[in-house]
């Protein structure tokens, strides 16, 4: 089980809800992923357009835990406001703190992320900060009381996969709260590697939404995450530089 604050989830795949070709495909992809946590952004409405189809309103909200993000925030203050707006819906008390500090890389601003996390914890939120792969920052966030740490595998939406497995492993080893690898996942093997490194979960969006067949990719991601977790729990063999035969050398009938 993935335990985040007071919540427990059997799925370790957290799915983003942006950029799908259409709602029908998205609904099928969400079903195929078996995700229980879905992320959303908070944005102004177009008040002159009464009919604005919205994915959230197509969902059976009893089946999912909503994880609003604070995307769009560049300061802690903005992130806190977005989180409070989301919570005012009465639908959620978890929040993904996302404070972008660099428009080119979309990497988070560590200082504003820390400040926003501190403030939102005081306000009683279940806080999951999106961070870079900085182990010291991860520890500082944990000390504040963050309920999970969400380091990026590589830049958001880049699909570059896990570019620094060593640093991710440092975070996984040195924090007690769940580590959810967030952003940059491109393929099922990327998600599997994250789990094999010992991550507690994976959050992804573009890898599924932008796939040629998002429904099939959602299922592939679910299976990869399960396989990666099993592999991690099973414990891989030690890497050696030389070969070791798998078949016995004794009892050979040929000369």
């Amino acid at each position: 089980m993935l335990n985040i604050g007071p919540y427990s989830f059997s799925s370790r795949l957290l799915l983003g809800t942006g950029k799908y070709p259409d709602f029908e495909t998205q609904k099928k992809a969400v079903d195929a992923s078996e995700s229980e946590i879905l992320t959303f952004a908070v944005r102004r409405m177009n008040i002159f357009e009464a009919t604005q189809p919205n994915f959230l309103e197509m969902l059976d909200l009893k089946k999912y835990t909503l994880l609003p993000n604070t995307a769009g925030a560049k300061t802690a203050e903005e992130a806190v406001r977005i989180a409070k707006l989301a919570k005012a819906s009465g639908l959620c008390d978890m929040v993904k703190v996302e404070v972008i500090g660099c428009d080119k890389t979309l990497l988070p601003d560590p200082i504003e992320t820390l400040k926003a996390t501190e403030e939102l914890l005081k306000e009683g939120f279940i806080v999951l900060p999106y961070t870079s792969d900085d182990v010291v920052l991860a520890r500082r966030l944990e000390e504040l009381g963050a309920h999970a740490i969400m380091p990026a595998a590589s830049p958001i939406g880049s699909g570059q996969g896990i570019i620094n497995p060593l640093y991710l492993k440092f975070i996984i080893e040195q924090t007690a709260v769940p580590v959810i690898v967030d952003a940059g996942i491109g393929s099922p093997s990327d998600a599997m590697i994250a789990m094999e490194l010992g991550a507690d979960g994976v959050l992804l969006n573009t890898a599924v939404a932008g796939a040629k067949d998002p429904v099939k990719m959602a299922r592939a991601m679910k299976m990869a995450i399960e396989a990666g977790l099993l592999g991690y729990e099973a414990g891989r063999i030690v890497r050696k530089e030389t070969a070791t035969a798998s078949s016995p050398l004794e009892g050979l009938s040929v000369k």
Binding site: F40, M45, L66, K84, L85, I156, N205
Partner: protein
């Protein structure tokens, strides 16, 4: 009554009393809408109790797809 909604100046009937009535007027009442009035965030259960008045600055937001 003149309101500033999402940065735009809008005329609405003076008879509108609450956020709930404003959302009904805008035909947005069947959606999940979160309101902020003069920078006070209003919990959705308090929308019907929250009065609106001339020159209020109102933000109406909702959940959209995101990662």
């Amino acid at each position: 009554m003149k309101l500033m909604i999402n940065g735009k100046e809008i005329q609405v009937p003076d008879s509108l009393q609450s956020i709930t009535e404003l959302l009904e007027h805008l035909n947005l009442n069947d959606q999940i809408v979160i309101a902020e009035v003069n920078q006070d965030i209003i919990s959705n259960e308090n929308q019907s109790k929250t009065q609106i008045k001339e020159n209020d600055k109102i933000e109406l937001v909702r959940f959209v797809g995101g990662g």
